[in-house]
C-alpha cells in the first residue's frame, strides 16, 4: 500500500513539474536585478501579480542581491552574460557607466516616458541629456518630521520661514524637557543629506543653482552656499547633548522615544517611524530664508530601472517598463513603500498622511536633486564626500561657514574644467 502511495505522489509531482515546465515554455520569463532585497515581498506579492493580470503571457521574477554586493555582482553577471533582463539603476555615474559599456538599452522612445519631468530623467541620462537609459522609478524627499503631541503640548505651530524655525527651536529649548532636534554628526551623511541638501535648495534656488554649478556660472563660495552653511552652523545648539557622537540609529531612537520634537528627515524614514513612534507625526518643508517667496525641495531621484541589452525578451521588457509608467504602478508602489515617491506626473492617491504631506510639496514647491550627484562628484576630491565633511564640521563648530564654502569651491575647481574659468 505504502509503495503505491509513493508512486502516486511521484506521478503527481512529475505531472505538476511537466505542467509547470510547459507553462514556462509558453510564457516568457524575465528576471529583475535589484539591490532592494527589503522589497522582495512587495514586488512578488503586490506589484508583479498586478502586472501579470495585464500580461499573463509575461512572467517576471524579482531576484535581489544585497545592496553592498549589488554593483560588483551585477557587473560580473553582465560580463558573464548571465544578468537579468531588467536592471534596477542606481542614479547617475554607476548606471551611466553601465550604459557607456553598452549594457543598458536606450529608452528614449519608450511609450509613457513623457509622463516624467526632465529633472526626474536627469539621473539616468547621458551628460548632454539627449539619451535616457533607465526609467525613473522613485525619489525621496527631504523635510522635517515632528511630533504633533509635543507641538500641542508646547503650543507650537509649523514654521514657514527660517526666522520662525529658529524661534521655534529656541522655544523648545527654553521650555526644557525635550531635545529640540534629533540629529547627530557622527556618521556625517545626515549633516550633508538631512542638513545641507535639505535646507539648501531654498537658498540656491533649486535646479537653477544646481545647473549653474555644473555650467560653471556659479561658485560654491557664493552667498547662497555660505548662507546654507551659516544656517547649519546654528543647528549645533539645538541638537541633543553629545550629538557629535550620535549616530543615525541613535537619532531615530531619540525621536521615536519622544525625547526630541523635530527630526530632519528623508521621506524613507516614514516607514521606520510608522512602526516605532507611538505618537502622531507631522511634517513641514524646509523653511524659507528671509525675503524668499518661492520654495524648493530636494526631491532626489534614487532608483530607476532599465533593460539589459543582452536580454532575449526586449519586447516583453519594454511592455513591463511601459506598464511601470502608468498611474496603476505608481499607486501600488507608493502605497507599498510610503516614503519612496513615484517620479511620474500622475496624480496618485497616497494612503499614508505623512507621505501625503511630503508629496504635496511637489504642488507648491519646485523639485531639485542633490547638487553633488550629477557630474560634480567624478573627481578628486570627491564633492559629495567634501560636503559631508564640511557640513559636519560646521555643525560641530570646528569650521566657519565661509571657510567651509571656500574649501568646497577649491576642491571642485581643482579638477572640474567649467569651474576653472
Amino acid at each position: 500500500m505504502a509503495r503505491y502511495r509513493i508512486q502516486l505522489v511521484c506521478l503527481v509531482l512529475a505531472g505538476a513539474a511537466l505542467l509547470f515546465a510547459m507553462d514556462h515554455a509558453r510564457a516568457q520569463t524575465l528576471r529583475i536585478e535589484s539591490w532592494r532585497s527589503d522589497d522582495r515581498e512587495i514586488w512578488t506579492n503586490i506589484i508583479l501579480p498586478a502586472f501579470a493580470r495585464h500580461h499573463p503571457d509575461i512572467n517576471i521574477t524579482f531576484t535581489p542581491t544585497a545592496p553592498t554586493e549589488f554593483n560588483a555582482s551585477l557587473n560580473a553577471r553582465l560580463a558573464g552574460g548571465t544578468a537579468g533582463d531588467l536592471i534596477t539603476c542606481r542614479p547617475f555615474d554607476a548606471a551611466l557607466a553601465l550604459h557607456t559599456q553598452g549594457h543598458l538599452a536606450v529608452l528614449d522612445d519608450l511609450p509613457g516616458m513623457e509622463h516624467f519631468p526632465a529633472v526626474a530623467k536627469s539621473a539616468w541620462q547621458t551628460d548632454d541629456g539627449k539619451t535616457t537609459f533607465c526609467l525613473p522609478m522613485a525619489s525621496v524627499i527631504h523635510g522635517f518630521i515632528y511630533s504633533k503631541e509635543a507641538f500641542e503640548e508646547l503650543g507650537l505651530s509649523v514654521p514657514e520661514t527660517e526666522e520662525a524655525f529658529f524661534k521655534l527651536l529656541d522655544t523648545i529649548k527654553s521650555k526644557g524637557g525635550y531635545t529640540p532636534m534629533a540629529m547627530g554628526t557622527s556618521d556625517q551623511w545626515e549633516a550633508a543629506t538631512m542638513g545641507f541638501q535639505n535646507i539648501g535648495p531654498n537658498h540656491w534656488k533649486g535646479e537653477a543653482g544646481r545647473q549653474a554649478l555644473i555650467a560653471g556660472t556659479a561658485k560654491l563660495s557664493d552667498p547662497p552656499y555660505v548662507a546654507t552653511l551659516a544656517h547649519l552652523a546654528r543647528w549645533g545648539a539645538y541638537l541633543g547633548r553629545g550629538y557629535k557622537a550620535q549616530s543615525y540609529a541613535d537619532s531615530q531612537t531619540l525621536f521615536s522615544l519622544g525625547r526630541a520634537v523635530i527630526y530632519p528627515a528623508g521621506s524613507w524614514d516614514i516607514t521606520t517611524f510608522r512602526s516605532q513612534a507611538p505618537f502622531e507625526l507631522g511634517a513641514f518643508r524646509p523653511p524659507l530664508p528671509a525675503g524668499a517667496t518661492e520654495c524648493y525641495i530636494s526631491d532626489h531621484t534614487d532608483i530607476g530601472i532599465g533593460i539589459n541589452t543582452a536580454s532575449k525578451h526586449q519586447d516583453a521588457a519594454r511592455k513591463f517598463l511601459t506598464w511601470m509608467t502608468t498611474p496603476e504602478f505608481a499607486t501600488l508602489f507608493a502605497n507599498a513603500l510610503p516614503g519612496f515617491f513615484p517620479l511620474s506626473t500622475h496624480k496618485i492617491a497616497l494612503e499614508d498622511p505623512l507621505a501625503q504631506e511630503f508629496i504635496s510639496w511637489r504642488q507648491t514647491c519646485k523639485s531639485t536633486i542633490r547638487n553633488a550627484y550629477q557630474i560634480l562628484s567624478r573627481g578628486t576630491p570627491n564633492l559629495d564626500a567634501e560636503i559631508w565633511n564640511v557640513s559636519a564640521q560646521v555643525i560641530n563648530g570646528t569650521m566657519t561657514p565661509s571657510d567651509a564654502a571656500a574649501r568646497l569651491q577649491a576642491g571642485l575647481e581643482k579638477w572640474y574644467g567649467p569651474q576653472q574659468k
Binding site: F92, T253, N382, A392, T398
Partner: protein, 315 residues
C-alpha cells in the same frame, strides 16, 4: 655490500632533491600562489592608471608621484600615516606595558584565581571587532551610555564628553578600545615566557632578600626581552595593517574630519570607493604598496638593529 652503499651514495643527491621538494614544495606553492603572487600583482597593478576610455594604461611610478605630491592625495595620505603612528604609539605605550605588568602579576608565586584572571583578560581578544566596536559605542554613547553615570558617581561627571565624536579625542579613544581588546595577546605571550624562567634564579634572588618587584625588574624582564621584542614587532605589523576597529566604529569615512583615518581605511576608500566616489583600483594598489613598504621598513629596522643584539637564553 660495498656496491650497494656506493649506489646509495650516487643516488643521494637525487634523493635529497626529491625530499626537499616533498617537504618544501607544498609550502612554496601555497605561499607563492596566495602570498607572493597577489603581492607582486598588486605592485604591478600600482604602475597602471586608466585613460579616459577606462582602458588600463602603464604609468610607471605616476600613481606614487600623485600620492605623494598632489595635495588632494598627499594630504589624506600623510594624515592617515600620522594617525597610524599615533595609533601604534598608543599601543606601544599602553597595551604592551600593561600586558607585561599583567603577565608579571599573574606569574607571581601565589595568586588566587590566576586562571580566572587569565581567561577574563584574554576574553575580549576572542570577540569579533564588530561586537567590541558596538559595545564600546554603547558604553560611551552620550545618549544611552553608562560611562557618564559612572563618572558622575565618582564626582567626575563634568569630565564626560562625546569622546568618539570629537576630533581631538576620537583617535585616542579608538586606540584605547583596541588596546582593551588586544591586551590579552602580549599578556599571554609574556606570561608563557615568564613561566620558562627556571625557579632557581628567582629563588636565589629571594634568598638574597630581594622583593618581587626588583626580581621582576632586574632578573625576569631582561630574560624575556626577546619576547617583548617579538610582541613589539607583532604590534607594529598589526597596527599598520589595522582597519577593522575604525571601520566598525566610525565607518570607512573615519570621522570626524578624518581624525581617525588610518592607512587601512584610506586604502579602503581609495580602492573600493565610497558613496559617490568611484573606486580606483590602480591608485588603491599604490596605497597598498606604500603600506607594504612602511611595514617592510619597520620590520627591517627591527631585524637589523634589535633582533641581532638580542641574546636568547637557553635554560
Amino acid at each position: 655490500m660495498v656496491r650497494a652503499a656506493a649506489e646509495m651514495m650516487r643516488a643521494r643527491p637525487r634523493l635529497r632533491a626529491a625530499t626537499l621538494l616533498f617537504f618544501v614544495g607544498p609550502a612554496f606553492l601555497i605561499y607563492g600562489l596566495f602570498s607572493v603572487y597577489p603581492l607582486a600583482s598588486t605592485m604591478v597593478l600600482s604602475t597602471y592608471g586608466t585613460n579616459a576610455a577606462g582602458q588600463p594604461l602603464f604609468v610607471g611610478l605616476g600613481n606614487f608621484v600623485t600620492l605623494l605630491t598632489d595635495d588632494s592625495w598627499s594630504g589624506p595620505f600623510w594624515n592617515a600615516l600620522q594617525n597610524n603612528v599615533v595609533f601604534f604609539a598608543i599601543h606601544m605605550a599602553v597595551q604592551n606595558p600593561v600586558g607585561i605588568a599583567l603577565a608579571g602579576m599573574l606569574s607571581l608565586p601565589r595568586v588566587t584565581g590566576r586562571h580566572a584572571y587569565r581567561t577574563v583578560i584574554f576574553l575580549p581578544t576572542m570577540l569579533s571587532v564588530v561586537i567590541v566596536g558596538f559595545i564600546w559605542q554603547l558604553i560611551l554613547s552620550p545618549l544611552w551610555g553608562v560611562s557618564e553615570g559612572i563618572l558622575e558617581t565618582i564626582g567626575l561627571g563634568h569630565w564626560f564628553d562625546p569622546w568618539l565624536g570629537q576630533e581631538t579625542t576620537a583617535l585616542i579613544t579608538l586606540s584605547l578600545i583596541s588596546v582593551w581588546q588586544f591586551v590579552g595577546i602580549p599578556m599571554i605571550l609574556i606570561y608563557a615566557a615568564l613561566l620558562n624562567i627556571p625557579d632557581d634564579l628567582t629563588d636565589a634572588a629571594q634568598v638574597d632578600g630581594i622583593g618581587h618587584f626588583r626580581i621582576f625588574w632586574h632578573i625576569k624582564l631582561p630574560l624575556i626581552m626577546p619576547t617583548v621584542a617579538l610582541v613589539s614587532i607583532l604590534t607594529y605589523v598589526g597596527n599598520f595593517n589595522a582597519f577593522d576597529i575604525v571601520y566598525a566604529v566610525k565607518g570607512a569615512i573615519a570621522g570626524p574630519n578624518f581624525s581617525t583615518d588610518i592607512l587601512g581605511t584610506f586604502f579602503y576608500r581609495t580602492f573600493f570607493g565610497f558613496q559617490l566616489q568611484q573606486g580606483n583600483p590602480t591608485m588603491g594598489a599604490a596605497v597598498a604598496t606604500v603600506m607594504f613598504g612602511v611595514i617592510l621598513i619597520g620590520v627591517m629596522i627591527y631585524l637589523f638593529t634589535v633582533q641581532r643584539r638580542l641574546q636568547r637564553h637557553a635554560f
